[in-house]
Symmetry: C2
Amino acid sequence: MTGFLLSKGFLAKFGGRLAAAAREAGLDPLVLHLPDDAGTRLAPEDCARIEIAYLTRDWRFSDHYLAFGDTVRACPNLKWVRFASTGVDQHPFLPALYRRGVKVTSSIGSNGEPVAQTAICGLLMLARRFPVWWDAQRRHAWEPMRGEAVPRDLEGQTVVIIGVGIIGTAVARFCQALGMHVIGVRRSPRRDEPVHEMHPPAALPELWPRTQWLVLACTHTPETHHLVNAATLARLPRGAHIINVSRGGVVDEPALIAALRSGHIAGAHLDVFEQEPLPAESPLWELTNVVVTPHNASASDGNDRRSAEIFLDHLRRWARGGPLANQSAG
Amino acid sequence: MTGFLLSKGFLAKFGGRLAAAAREAGLDPLVLHLPDDAGTRLAPEDCARIEIAYLTRDWRFSDHYLAFGDTVRACPNLKWVRFASTGVDQHPFLPALYRRGVKVTSSIGSNGEPVAQTAICGLLMLARRFPVWWDAQRRHAWEPMRGEAVPRDLEGQTVVIIGVGIIGTAVARFCQALGMHVIGVRRSPRRDEPVHEMHPPAALPELWPRTQWLVLACTHTPETHHLVNAATLARLPRGAHIINVSRGGVVDEPALIAALRSGHIAGAHLDVFEQEPLPAESPLWELTNVVVTPHNASASDGNDRRSAEIFLDHLRRWARGGPLANQSAG
């Protein structure tokens, strides 16, 4: 018997496929749920049965989130915790699991395409100046841009994409279709990324002055913390644009706000912020040419299915004792 | 001597290239401008010298527009009128010129890429539900879409593009990059368009029920007038979206408004309208999931250069007595 901690929502949608995958992998699954009352915890004898726990979105964004954290900490035989998110963030219950050697994996790959589409939409909205049209629409005002007000051709402009993983690769492909010059920045290039140039992070000092569009699609690590700050922003050419679909901590937000206010940075699409939810008093909500999406770039109805498919694929490997992809080192 | 009626703005930017093209074509150009005072007309002896007139954007969207029309009608030796726009619309002075056999050409091809980028941005904004995020941004509200509210995967959805000319072809290419199933509708296919299926207009009755996304990029002719009407809208699947970057007359606007209000059509990006400017009292300004751009999809700073390049290329052919492309039949 292999004990799984899974939501009823997951089981309703993917229970049949879980059973098939488990059978194929030679596992005899025993599925446990968190109690419906989010204030109640699983009994110790049930916790002892759980080897694999999956934090699906329905638990992540509900009162069951705390119960999930309490429960996995109380499972003495837990071997693997799986997240529906692409990144494994600083969940408060994780350090204890890492110390115990529990494997922690993400759903990386399950939502790359929707995130990239949101980022490209943000880029196009800024490039075509939709905020100007949108403002006029609110006022019922027919105000076509003419003369000096028209946007610049996007074709031929240079985009620097920091982090060319699954999301950054999809962004790069679209940017090429838009006729942009695409520069990727990645620690370990695979050499088949759809970019015109690939550089290591160490090359960034020479790249900043060429960066007309900056797309942040990297992970948030000590190396990328506040990578975009007052000094690096000052090195970008005047009129540059920024799209951030990575993590808020990659950007020094007050420095970005100052650069947006001065006009040095012409616009930004921000999906992530240093403090989330973004406080109502943040100037970012009101700044012209700032498009805010609430850490929601990935929203798409196919994510749960893609995430489940990756999980079931990993489950087969796990049963064979093989290594797990998407593993977080803690 | 070949007389040109050209704006000072055109001459300032492209005068050198005009001189070179004229020299190459064996023409001795004499350039005339409209008088600075838009209320004054060129003298008859100057009008008699003009063979070629170019309606650039600076005249089209200024008080000189009327003077241009009056002047070309008063030029007895006029042979060719050229427009900076992609389409040749119902300018009031045109019928008289067609009757006299004056050649009339457009700048088709000069702004296909910007228009297609605007249309794709409109499509992505509707697909990713940016109107929902934008509304929340105005209220400083952090309201990520979760559960049933999340958008559908765009990948695998079917788009029907009516009119696969320069704009439609660019739209088709982007839709393929987005993983959509792309159907083109065109009277005279070239057979190299980037579509999965190509159909003649006669196939539309069978195509409507498959049309999850409808992109209108055709010309406005008696055949396409009110092509989208109450009857055809009713045949689209519930939740379909419409993008119109062709001409307002292709859509029966009250029928579209009714379909948007009922929810049968989930959203629309409209650049063109039956009456332009769109009247302030039109419900389209306020409808949720309607993105209005003011017949401005093409706005981009490279259009004038591209338009001038096409004009100079045509000038060389015209001097050789060859046929002019982009010619409007009247």
